[in-house]
């Protein structure tokens, strides 16, 4: 056995090399848990800092703006025409309201809202089934958004283009509230509990 081999043998059994292993482990864990999510998501601002709480006070309930149409479909995020009903003229001096009027109402341009709960196109979601038949509250899925004063920063997954809210803020995928994640597993969890239909076509199109 050559001297070099002896040295190698010594090195192999010395604790120093374990250090390299540990360093590698630590670095990769740091990358995986902390740097990766920062790189994965880009941060986008909503076009207008909308306050749900003010509007909820004024409108009274969620259904005033987010309503069902006669054909059973759900209106989702209101269109500009809903905004115009109250904001044709400025009601105060809030710069966000001025932005709304100048940038969108006057040129009659729809507001390009970034939708936190937007699901991939293959997902069929029936608000009627969940709200009317399932009697779920809005917050079960949408959380406390109705009471918020400001819209949060929209974090967009650079690969998929969907909001971070779908996967959940926790990169590990852990959740503590029902509204923390909106992945298929979260839908399935509730469907399982309630024994509602399990066929794929219930939620997919």
């Amino acid at each position: 056995m050559s001297a070099q081999d002896e040295k190698n043998k010594a090195a192999a059994s010395s604790p120093i090399v374990i250090v390299f292993f540990v360093v590698g482990l630590a670095v990769s864990l740091l990358v995986g848990w902390s740097i990766f999510p920062k790189l994965l998501y880009s941060q986008k601002k909503q076009p207008i800092d909308f306050s749900h709480s003010i509007h909820l006070d004024a409108a009274g309930d969620c259904e005033s703006c987010h309503y069902f149409r006669e054909d059973g479909s759900f209106s989702g995020i209101p269109e500009l025409s809903n905004c115009v009903e109250c904001h044709e003229e400025a009601q105060g001096e809030d710069p966000e309201e001025i932005k709304l009027i100048e940038n969108y109402i006057e040129p009659n341009k729809e507001i390009p809202w970034l939708v936190y709960s937007r699901q991939p196109d293959c997902v069929f979601f029936s608000h009627a089934a969940h709200v009317n038949m399932g009697e779920l509250e809005c917050k079960t899925c949408h959380g406390m958004i109705g009471e918020s004063d400001h819209v949060e920063i929209y974090e967009e997954n650079r690969i998929t283009g969907y909001s971070r809210n779908i996967w959940g803020k926790s990169i590990g995928g852990f959740k503590s509230n029902t509204w923390d994640r909106m992945k298929m597993d979260d839908c399935a969890e509730c469907h399982d509990e309630h024994g509602t239909r399990q066929a794929c076509f219930v939620c997919h199109k």
């Binding site: 192999a12 059994s13 298929m184 597993d185 399935a188 969890e189 469907h191 399982d192």
Partner: protein
């Protein structure tokens, strides 16, 4: 593949299939683990055969 996947059902099909699969995989895992650990121990003991 895993019991926490929502498609999982605790029925005969899943239990037999995945039972066999995980059984085989664990044997492989344990075998490899055994060989690895044994090698480190052998190394510590030194000696060559």
């Amino acid at each position: 593949m895993f019991p926490f996947s929502f498609e999982w059902h605790w029925d005969i099909g899943h239990m037999v299939f995945h039972g066999a699969l995980w059984y085989a995989l664990s044997i492989l895992g344990m075998g490899l683990g055994y060989a690895a650990i044994k090698s480190f121990i052998d190394l510590k003991k030194g000696g060559h055969h």
